[in-house]
Every structure is written in C-alpha cells, then in structure tokens.
C-alpha cells in the first residue's frame, strides 16, 4: 500500500512542530524548513494525482495504523479517502499555499515570525486533512485545526483594533458553526452507527430517515458559514481585510473553498443518492445567486481595496455554489448540470489562483503605501509596473475578460445557468456587470494620475521573493485561459465525474462479504464540449486591439484633473468623500449613474451589515432553522 495520501499532512505537521524549535537556533534554518515543506507538498499531491489517474480514478482508501479498513465487515478505523475531487482540491490547496509561502518570506518582516510560520503550516495541514479525510469526525477535528489557526492569524496584528475586532467576530461565529456541525455529526452517528462517510452514504441511500436530514441541515448551515455564503457571510468582509495580506490570500483563496468542498462532499457523496433533493438544490441555488448579487454589488462600493476583494470573494464563491446547486437538482438537462459542475469546479480553481494573486499583489501595494484606500493609489502603475500589471490582470480574470481563465469558467456557468433557468442566468451575468464596476474603479485608480501620497512615498516593485509567486500565479491564470483544456480535461472532469457518481465514492465498501454494487448510478457522462465557440487566438487579437485603442484614447484625451465634484464622489465609493483635496484623480466617472441607480439597495444592504455580532449570529441560526424546515422536515 502506498503511503502517499498521508505524506502531505505529515510533512506539514512535522514542519509546524519543528519551526518554533529551529527558529530559536537560527532563523534562516526555520525558513528553510518552512519553504521546503510548503514547496515539496505540491509535488506529493501531483504524484497522488498521477497514481489516481493511472488507476482510472478509482478512489484510494488509506487506513491509518493498519493494513486495511476491515477487520470486520465494516471499516473500523479512520480512513483517508482520496478520489479525483479530493486530489484536485489537495493540489489547489498545496500549490496556492506554496506560492503564498514563498511570498511571505519577503513580506512578513514583523515580530512573532516563528508563530506566523507555525500557524501558517498548521492552517495548511488542517485544510489538506479536510480535503483528504474520509471520516466525518476526523473532518471535524481538521476543521477545528483550520479554524483555530485562522482565527489566530486573522487577529495576528493584535496591535490594530481592526484585526482584533474582526478576529473576535470570526471566532464566535465560526465556533457556533463548529458546534452545530458537532451536534449534527452526533445525530448521524446515533442514526447509523458509523462515521466513515462512504459508509454513511451507503446507509443513507438504503435507509433514508428524517434524522439524517436534520443532521444534513446542520452540516450544511455550518459549512456554508465557513464558506462565506449569503446570509452568513458577514464575518468574511471583516476578517479577510484585517489579516496580513498573505493570510488574506490563503483565507480568500483556500479556506472558504475548503468549506464549500466539505458542504459539496456531504451533500453529494453522502446524501445525494438517498432521496429527492430538489428543494435542497433550489435552496443552494438561491443562496448562491444571492451571494453573487450581494458580494459583487457591495464590492463596488468599498473604499478599502482589501475589503473590495473580500466582498468580491463572496460574489465569486456564489458562482461556485450556484453551479453546485444546479447539479444537485434532479431532472435538469444533464448537459447543463454537467456543465454547471464543470464550471463550478473550474471556477473554484480559477478563483483560488486569481484571488491569491490579487491579494498578494495588492498586499505589496498596501505594504509600500501604508494605506488601503483606493483614492490614494492614483498612478501607482508607473511606480510599481509589475505589481500593478498583476493586479490588473487578476481584476480582468475575476471580471471574466476573455483571454484569461476566469472567462472560461464563467462562460461554462453562464451556459449552464441560462439553460437551467433564465432568471438565474440573468443573475449570473448581472453579477459580472457588478464586478466590472467594482474592478473598473481599480483600473481607473491605478492607471490614473499620480496622487500626492504616491509621489511622497515613491514606492518600488517588491524584490525577487515576492515577484516570483506573483508572476507564477499570473502565468497560471493566462495559461488556463488560453489552454483551458489542460486543467479541464486533466483535473476538473475527473473531479466532476467523482462528484456525479457517488457510487464510486462508496464502491470500495464490502457489505456482508461481497463488494457492494452501486445502485442508481447516474450516467458517468461522456465529456461534452462546453466551451461554446471559444477560440483563444481571436480573443487575444481583440484584446490587443482594445489595448491599442485604450492607449490611443489615453494619449489623445485632454489631460487635467478634476478634483472636486459629483463625479469623483460616485467614482470612488458612492459614499460622501471626506477630503477632496487629497484626492487627485482623472474625473472620468464611469459608474456615477450606476451608483445612483442602486443606491437605495446598497444602503439597505449596508444597514444590514451593521457590525453587530448578535445579528450575524442570528442569521446563522435563522439559516439553520430554514434548512431544517425546508429539508429536514420533509
């Protein structure tokens, strides 16, 4: 038996325990261990994927502490179960965190570094364990490792009130969600007497009971909260900006994805085949669509650049969840449901790459400027060309501009949602419009006229340690956009097939001696072409022409700065600006009309994000009760 599944976790954990010890001896040694563990892990996960694919994507079941899971007819020990989806997630987690780790060597020049490295590695270990494990209680343990280290990392800059407040709110909400998850696990154990997820799925398929559905409601409410889905997303916009930028990249890029993964794993592999989940699927689609609207809309009205990115994360994760929800609903056009799932998983990968890249490069800007206000970032593109190019590339990717990876996955999701339901399709497109507004402001701000602060500080592009990961992520984003078939065929389709056939997740179980057959398998599905008429070369040409046009207009247009006026006001954030004189921006206000049009909606939403912790907790309980009513009681 190959020991590959456990290796990654062991490497992270060993390094996490070693770093504080070595740091006392010599700082560089500790950093070496930190880098070695994070950089070697993607290799391990790639080997795992190769092993899986050479075995026609049959799940690898690894038992801890013994040769096989069976000493009886049921698995009695903790198992790690790696199927195509787990391996896909593991590769994302390890690769992105390798890039972030490389960046943080140059970025974190603060006190308490050895604790930073330790917590970073523990966060990685927790996430990797969550995606690889096949045992429900073990999932809870790893969830707690992930959560506790992320609470500590959010509040890591404890001398800032902002970090402490955000960490406190995140911690209380996250702990309540964890408690709900623990109660649900207890209910499931009481009902079926096992904790292995494959076994639970098999049991539920043959004996679906009301109590298991109540448990599912709790698990979903908890994991959706960890994934930052409307209406339990309020902690996210506080917590992600308050953390150091490297941690924001991990939180936005990976931690919420892992929450979504767990929800999907439980909904699909454990519960999907048991009963009709139409209502549940619709509920997931609705919260996903709400996330698209709320996240992307509020992103357009933030002055704080990291807060903008955090709200945009809510919106983009909404796309993923919408896709996952569509595939849950039975009776949808199978092509559409496959395309939705493909799009959702590919968007998950793309968003992880893009958001990590955005947070890292924005972090470099914020680090050198000392402010997070977009209004003061005018003209930084001239001073930090590389960083700004990466920021703008990431922004275009998130908007879904054609030659980049975000376009491909969003295109699949547009297709799928439009076939599924025109209203949801319209919401998907509307979300893109909103995010264009949000990131369009970024374009104007960065490329615009130089602000006084930028002139004073004269920031520079960061050094080699920080540039390499940014360039690496940007290259990945362009590569996935131009050659989408590589990740889609190699990683996403097997992962989709694994989700859509829960029978394969439980196929290794033996029940009463024989290998159990997997009933009601949906068709495994021939790969369909979901790219529409996507010819990268044409779009590249269009893109080059539009850049040429942009440069032409920019050079021909009248120069001059309009400092004060309605235009600047709406252009920045839609809020009343405090100090006009300090803002120096070209007054081309493209979003003024839009800001006026949606002002009442935005104000209502902003009132709801009142900062009151008990209100946030209320929404979690409310979601739980609604899930129970709609689904558990059925």
């Amino acid at each position: 038996m190959s020991h590959l599944p456990i290796c990654g976790i062991v490497v992270y954990l060993t390094a996490a325990f070693l770093t504080p010890l070595l740091y006392k001896a010599h700082r560089r040694v500790a950093e070496g261990v930190f880098l070695a563990s994070t950089l070697s892990n993607p290799v391990l996960q790639t080997l795992l994927i190769l092993e899986l694919s050479s075995n026609s994507w049959k799940p690898i079941v690894y038992t801890l502490g013994a040769a096989g899971p069976y000493e009886w007819t049921y698995p009695i020990r903790i198992v790690l179960e790696v199927d195509a989806l787990s391996a896909f997630m593991a590769l994302i987690v390890t690769s992105i965190s390798a890039a972030v780790a490389l960046f943080s060597i140059g970025y974190m020049e603060e006190d308490g570094l050895q604790k930073y490295y330790t917590l970073f590695l523990l966060l990685d270990a927790g996430m990797l364990g969550m995606v690889l494990t096949g045992d429900l209680f073990n999932l809870y343990v790893f969830l707690e490792i992930t959560s506790i280290s992320s609470y500590a990392l959010v509040a890591f800059r404890k001398h800032q009130w902002e970090a402490v407040e955000a960490g406190m709110k995140y911690m209380i909400m996250g702990s309540l969600a964890s408690t709900i998850i623990l109660v649900s696990i207890a209910l499931l154990y009481g009902e079926y007497g096992t904790l292995t997820m494959a076994q639970l799925g098999w049991q539920y398929r043959h004996h679906p009971t009301g109590m298991a559905r109540v448990a599912l409601a709790g698990l979903l409410a908890g994991f959706l909260m960890k994934g930052g889905i409307v209406p339990v997303h309020m902690w996210l916009a506080d917590a992600h900006p308050a953390a150091p930028s490297t941690i924001s990249a991990l939180l936005s890029g990976l931690v919420i994805k892992v929450g979504i993964y767990s929800a999907a794993r439980i909904a699909y592999s454990v519960f999907w085949m048991g009963t009709d989940v139409r209502l549940l699927g619709w509920l997931v689609v609705v919260v996903g669509a709400a996330s698209i609207i709320v996240g992307n809309l509020l992103a357009g009205f933030q002055r704080d650049i990291k807060r903008l990115l955090a709200y945009s994360s809510i919106g983009q994760v909404g796309y993923v969840v919408t896709g996952l929800g569509i595939a849950l609903i039975p009776g949808v056009n199978p092509e559409a449901s496959r395309a939705a799932l493909d799009g959702a998983l590919f968007h998950l990968l793309n968003h992880a790459v893009l958001k990590a890249m955005l947070f890292l490069s924005v972090g470099a800007i914020v680090h050198s400027l000392g402010t997070r206000d977009i209004g003061y970032m005018g003209g930084i593109a001239k001073r930090m060309p590389l960083t700004s190019a990466v920021v703008l590339l990431g922004a275009m990717g998130i908007i879904g501009a054609p030659p980049l990876n975000g376009f491909v996955s969003k295109w699949m999701l547009y297709e799928a949602t439009a076939i599924f339901n025109p209203i949801i399709g319209a919401i998907a497109v509307l979300g893109t419009a909103f995010s264009t507004v949000a990131y369009g402001r970024l374009f104007y701000a960065l490329l615009g006229r130089e602000s006084r602060l930028v002139a004073d500080r004269s920031p520079r592009d960061p050094g080699l340690w920080m540039s390499v990961p940014m360039i690496f992520l940007a290259a990945a984003s362009v590569l996935f956009g131009i050659l989408p078939r590589i990740p889609v065929v190699g990683l996403v389709r097997p992962a989709r097939a694994a989700l859509l056939s829960p029978g394969s997740y439980t196929s290794w179980l033996k029940v009463a001696g024989g290998i159990l057959s997997s009933p009601n398998l949906p068709p495994a599905g021939q790969p369909i072409s979901v790219f529409g008429s996507w010819v990268p070369a044409v779009f590249l040409l269009v893109f080059a022409i539009s850049i040429a046009f942009f440069l032409l207009i920019r050079n021909l247009s009248a120069s001059g700065v309009r400092t004060v006026g309605e235009g600047v006001k709406a252009f920045l954030s839609g809020e009343d600006e405090r100090d006009f004189e300090a803002l120096q921006l070209p007054g081309t206000s493209v979003v003024w009309g839009f800001a006026e049009a949606v002002k009442s909606l935005v104000n209502a939403l902003k009132r709801e994000h009142s900062g009151d912790l008990t209100v946030y907790l209320f929404w979690l309980i409310f979601l739980y009760a609604v899930l129970i009513l709609l689904w558990g009681g059925a």
């Binding site: 707690e144 506790i148 407040e165 209380i172 309540l176 154990y189 904790l195 912790l613």
Partner: protein
Amino acid sequence: MMVYLTAFALIMLGIAGMLFRRNLLKIIMALSVADSGAYLLLIAIGYRSGGTAPILTGYEGGPMVDPLPQALVLTAIVIGVCVLIMAVSLVVNVYRHYGTLDVSELRRLRG
C-alpha cells in the same frame, strides 16, 4: 429521554445566550454551555440501559455501553478548551483596544 432533553435544552440555552447576552465573556460561556450539550448528547447516544462501562477488568458479561462516542467526547472536550483559550486571549485583546466587552460597542467594522 431526560438526558436527550437536557442535552438539547443545553444546546438551545447556549445558542440563546449567545444571541441575547451582550457581554463577550458571557457569549463565550454560552458557547461552552452549548458545547457541553453536544457532549451530553454524544454520551447519551452511546448509552445502553443496563450496560456497564467499557472496561474489561472485572467484566462479567452482559451489555456494555458504546465506547466510541466516549472516545469522541474525550477529543471534543479538549478541542472545546482550545477554543476557549483562543477566545479568552482574543477577549483580552479586545478589552485592550476598546476598554469594554459590550458587543454593541464592538462595531467599528461595518458596511
């Protein structure tokens, strides 16, 4: 039955306390009450009436209670304490910055 009811009542009491109390330390205490409810629920699930503790020394046959939930609770108790430690160290920091533990004062981040 009584044990289940008490467990669920403790969970609900904890959640209600988190929703309606305004002091942060009190909210954390409410969280630990809810956690205790979850532990009691797990142990109650494992109980078999007339069962003895799952220890083989001096065992004379007859039913035993389910040992697995007990193992889970042992793990969960430690995790609960870890959450408590983190929460209290965060609360100390909140007090340093805000001078109060009232959650309605703790809302500078919004919108």
